[in-house]
């Protein structure tokens, strides 16, 4: 045990602050939004921060993604061949740009990732209506940098997984009991900054474009 640690803890232990009695600490979700309202709020928030929203169905989402790729003239896209949704995309390679899988450690191909990758496609664990956020728990099949380094991030969101607030997500998805992953993320739009004269500029360090494909 370090000396600093003991000194700090001991100093803190000499004081016993008045305990706080606020029950307000647990005051939770304040909204009562049905599914339609959740979708509307989510879309409104996302559009406000310049994310693109594409509405799709269970059957045509993959084609919609092909259209987006064409429109944006993507030459290649990172897609996991291991997820159910990734498999669908690998089954229609002729309509899509060159699909690449992120199946080796970043150190082995950092330069290609940074310099030659046009887009990353990821699934999500759901979304949050209040703030317009995507929930991502990167895995070894869909690693952390997939949604960060390429200039375009395309994400798939099932509207059945659209929650009202972040508090609700933590509770209903049982984050504490499940145990937290290496990295959990909320993504609410493309990368941006207002550091120069409070003027918004997009695509600072992360993706310049975020496309959310909403499956209803």
């Amino acid at each position: 045990m370090s000396k600093a640690r003991n000194n700090i803890i001991n100093r803190l232990r000499t004081t016993k602050p008045e305990p706080c009695h606020f029950s307000e600490r647990d005051h939770l979700s304040r909204f009562n939004w049905d599914k339609e309202e959740r979708i509307n709020r989510f879309v409104e928030r996302m559009v406000a921060v310049r994310a693109e929203i594409i509405h799709a169905s269970k059957d045509d989402w993959a084609e919609k993604i092909a259209e987006i790729c064409q429109e944006k003239r993507l030459k290649n896209m990172l897609v996991s061949p291991e997820t159910a949704q990734g498999k669908v995309l690998y089954n229609m390679v002729d309509q899509l740009p060159d699909l690449q899988s992120y199946d080796h450690e970043i150190e082995d191909w950092k330069s290609e990732m940074f310099n030659q990758t046009d887009a990353g496609f990821t699934t999500t664990l759901g979304g949050i209506a209040e703030t317009g956020s995507l929930i991502l728990w990167p895995t070894k099949h869909e690693p952390r940098l997939m949604s960060l380094v390429p200039p375009v991030h395309i994400a798939l969101l099932d509207t059945n997984q659209l929650y009202t607030t972040f508090s609700e997500v933590v509770k209903e998805q049982g984050w504490v009991d499940k145990g937290m992953p290496t990295n959990a993320l909320l993504v609410s739009g493309p990368s941006k900054s207002a550091d120069i004269e409070q003027t918004l500029a997009y695509g600072v360090h992360g993706p310049k474009e975020l496309v959310v494909v909403l499956i209803s």
Binding site: S2, A4, R5, N7, I8, I9, R11, L12, T14, T15, P17, E18, C20, F22, S23, R25, H27, V49, Y102, D103, E105, E107, S111, T131, G132, S133, K140, P143, R144, L145, L148, F166, S167, V170, K171, V176, G179, M180, T182, N183, L185, L186, V187, S188, G189, P190, S191, K192, S193, A194, D195, I196, E197, Q198, T199, A201, G203, V204, H205, G206
Partner: protein, 471 residues
């Protein structure tokens, strides 16, 4: 004339600089009105503030236990924890990690605690490069400046000044005042740095004891880059940043981002609970957390001043401060400016060094009204004024050091006279009778103002003449 303190010199310079004053005014006006739009329902805002205060109070009530729990859970998750009583110790921890990896440079996400540590300066003396990657921090680092605001470090500059700076530092890139183009220049330069950096350093917004999770909020993605691309990640934070439960994070985060930059949420919320695991393809292989005390445990021992540690560094008190908007962030000469700096800095570094800041307040109360965790900032500023000249109830460093004998005697005399009507009235009539003898210059106050003349008759005499007599 008495020599002006460094603080006053900086204030006078700042007040004379109209360009910078304009930059602050414009930014703060925008921030205040946009924050208000985020909280349309006042009753709801008050509830949220009470909730946020309760969460932070709970953290502080159980601080030693929660810190131990945090350490246990982080360690279990594979994150290495280092404790530092002083900034020197914290810098040494970071240095030891750098040396272990033979690292000669680091890329930094935004971290006010690293500013508090003077980390960049410390490392540069040893030939280690620290590159700021937050756009605002990058800009001021280019110009060799300190942040002028805890959330928007380059807020004192306008785009013309930034364009000129870029032209001077990157002469190969054509001059532009276009914000998008300036941003893309920074993106290009920094991407390469992320690519090569052996170590990434970041701050922490909340550290969750229950799960051993470090939460970071940001908009640009530089925080995610710094904590994901380099093989080693070092996080630095103050010991007060711990919260008990994961469910404490959503409400705190929501009021933090809305109070700070009027956003319902930042673009990224980055929750880190472990280094790269077996089979994972990216992320740092080592994650370290340096927990810094630097006077916080001393603040903790005072039941009133303890409230200072509830702060979630949103910057709202700064944005709403009528003094800050006029004198700007650099005048304070401290890491944290504005009301929170005024309260925190003298407690951290002593009243001798920064006690004067407590005088630079009109006690208008705006800061206390907007603080999302209900820190009674005006009362604390008042308390520190008291501590500056009195030693009786204080644990604050250098209490009583600002006491001036003449001033103390004057007040003693005044308070004696005020309690003895005969003396008071004689004095007041004498002042009225001899008012012509009053010098027109009376110290600092009359340097830029005309002294008001003393009335020919005292208030008591005037009232008596009207037939009102309370004696």
């Amino acid at each position: 004339m008495a020599k002006l303190s460094d603080f006053r010199v900086r204030v006078e310079d700042a007040l004379a600089n109209e360009e910078v004053r304009g930059n602050f005014r414009k930014a703060m006006d925008g921030l205040m009105s946009r924050r208000l739009d985020q909280f349309p329902d006042e009753a709801e805002l008050e509830r949220l503030r009470t909730q946020a205060m309760a969460i932070r109070s709970n953290s502080l009530d159980n601080l030693p236990d929660l810190l131990e729990k945090l350490e246990t859970n982080l360690t279990k998750n594979g994150i290495q924890v280092h404790w530092a009583e002083t900034v020197e110790e914290a810098n040494q921890h970071v240095l030891a990690i750098m040396n272990k990896h033979n690292a000669k440079s680091m890329i930094k996400g935004k971290s006010m605690v690293s500013e508090e540590m003077g980390l960049n300066h410390f490392m540069e003396e040893l030939g280690i490069e620290c590159l700021e990657s937050d756009l605002g921090e990058f800009i001021i680092q280019l110009d060799g400046e300190m942040p002028s605001h805890i959330i928007m470090p380059a807020i004192h500059k306008n785009k013309r000044q930034i364009a000129k700076l870029f032209q001077e530092k990157f002469p190969d890139i054509p001059y532009t005042e276009d914000v998008d183009e300036l941003t893309q220049t920074a993106r290009k330069i920094l991407r390469e740095k992320f690519f090569n950096a052996p170590v990434g350093l970041s701050g922490v917004n909340f550290a969750v004891a229950e799960t051993g999770t470090l939460c970071l909020v940001e908009n640009e993605g530089n925080g995610r880059m710094s904590t994901t691309v380099p093989p080693v990640h070092i996080a630095v934070t103050g010991i007060e940043k711990v919260v008990e439960k994961l469910s404490d994070v959503p409400p705190l985060m929501s009021i933090l981002t809305r109070s700070a930059t009027a956003q319902p949420i930042t673009t990224y919320v980055n929750m880190i609970s472990s280094p790269r695991k077996e089979g994972e393809m990216d992320g740092p292989k080592e994650v370290h957390l340096v927990l810094l005390d630097n006077g916080r445990s001393n603040i903790y021992s005072d039941p009133e001043l303890l409230a200072t540690l509830r702060c979630i560094r949103c910057g709202a008190c700064i944005n709403h401060c009528p003094v800050y908007v006029r004198v700007g962030g650099h005048s304070y000469g401290t890491v944290y400016p504005g009301p929170i700096g005024t309260v925190l800095e003298p407690q951290k570094d002593g009243l001798k060094a920064h006690g004067e800041l407590a005088q630079a307040s009109s006690l208008c109360g705006a800061c206390g009204e907007v603080c999302p965790v209900r820190i009674p900032l005006p009362s604390l500023i008042n308390r520190l004024r008291y501590e500056g000249v009195r030693q009786d109830q204080s644990s604050t460093k250098d209490s009583g050091s600002r006491r001036k004998t003449a001033e103390a005697l004057t007040w003693k005399g005044w308070s004696f006279a005020a309690q003895h009507p005969l003396i008071y009235n004689t004095g007041a009539s004498a002042a009225a009778s001899f008012r012509k003898l009053m010098p027109s210059k009376m110290g600092a106050w009359t340097r830029v103002r005309t002294a008001p003349p003393i009335a020919a008759k005292t208030l008591h005499q005037q009232l008596k003449a009207k037939g009102i007599d309370n004696e």
